[in-house]
């Protein structure tokens, strides 16, 4: 009986010890803790050192950058002095070029017919570019190249404009010229309903589409269809006509 009780006690004790040891395995052991503390301390030391090295590198690079900035300024000042211009002159020149490059890009995306409305602006640009090309700043290659490239583009725009067709208005008695009759001519649009295009393309001359005068040189915008604006103008004209002269 005693023997059996002893065996039972021993078994229970062994089980207890087993359970305790399995719990202990889940927790961190002292050796492991010490090893992790060492690793963390070493990592901190090494990171402190790396941080100090990087700080030194930063100081060196910053001083290099400051020196380079000063060298660039000295070089640019010498360059501008050679040309007898100021930094502000060059900045203004650069801004002008940027603005023109942007505007020329917009004009290049227009159709020839649309360009007609910007003829004066293109001519002004051409004149300004001539002045810029003659400026001493254009002797600096990076500016000179940009001016010449813009001049080429503006010349191409002017060439597109020169393709613009015109028609000189004759007399009613001899030629029966009105916008309707001009538009229906074979060498104009061959379509009388295109008359609003001539009207809208010549708004500087034609205030009333019923009145055109002999010897006027009318621009004949390119295109086979009326634009939305031209259609609206024609509709407004027809409505006005329909309401009669009393409402005019």
């Amino acid at each position: 009986m005693k023997t059996t009780a002893m065996i039972l006690i021993l078994t229970a004790f062994a089980l207890l010890v087993g359970a305790a040891s399995s719990i202990a395995q889940e927790k961190m052991g002292r050796d492991e803790w010490q090893s992790e503390m060492r690793n963390a301390s070493n990592r901190i030391t090494s990171l402190h050192k790396e941080g100090r090295d990087l700080d030194s590198q930063k100081i060196v690079l910053q001083s290099q950058l400051t020196k380079l900035d000063a060298d660039v300024k000295t070089c640019e000042d010498a360059l501008y002095a050679m040309l007898g211009v100021t930094r502000a002159d060059v900045q203004a020149f650069d801004k002008d070029l940027n603005d023109m490059e942007k505007r020329v890009g917009e004009l290049q995306r227009m159709t020839d017919a649309e360009l007609v409305g910007y003829k004066d602006e293109i001519n002004r640009m051409n004149e300004r570019l001539k002045e810029m090309a003659a400026s001493k700043i254009a002797l600096i290659p990076r500016y000179g190249d940009r001016v010449h490239s813009l001049q080429d583009k503006v010349a191409a725009l002017m060439k597109s404009l020169s393709k613009e067709k015109t028609y000189t208005v004759g007399t009613w008695s001899r030629d029966r010229d009105c916008l309707w009759n001009i538009a229906r001519k074979k060498d104009i649009y061959d379509n009388a309903w295109m008359w609003p295009k001539i009207w809208q393309g010549n708004r500087d001359l034609i205030k009333d589409p019923d009145i055109i005068k002999p010897h006027w040189v009318l621009k004949i915008p390119e295109g086979k269809e009326l634009s939305r604006d031209e259609k609206s103008a024609a509709n407004r004209y027809y409505r006005k006509k329909a309401t009669g002269p009393a409402s005019q």
Binding site: K2, T3, M6, L10, F13, A14, L16, V17, A20, S21, I23, A24, K27, M28, G29, R30, W33, E36, M37, A40, S41, R43, I44, L47, H48, E50, G51, L54, D55, Q57, K58, L61, Q62, Q64, L65, L68, D69, D71, V72, C75, E76, A78, L79, M82, L83, L139, I140, P141, R142
Partner: protein
Amino acid sequence: MVKLLKPLLAAALLCGGMMLSSCSSGPSEEELSKLAELKKQADQLQSEVENKKADIGALTKQIAERNSKLQQCQSDQEAVKKALGGK
């Protein structure tokens, strides 16, 4: 049988004692929090080091840009000298 039980009991007690003693030798809460603090500090330092590396990268890029600007200016000077000299 009874004779065998005594040594067996002694051995079992000894083993149990050893196990329990190893169990109680783990780090204390205070020690564990010290380790966590060190790890946190290391992570912070790592992040600072990464920021410094990024700053150095940006500075290197700016230096390359300035070098190219300086070269461009020097080449412009040569071209202008030539153009003015030719006039």
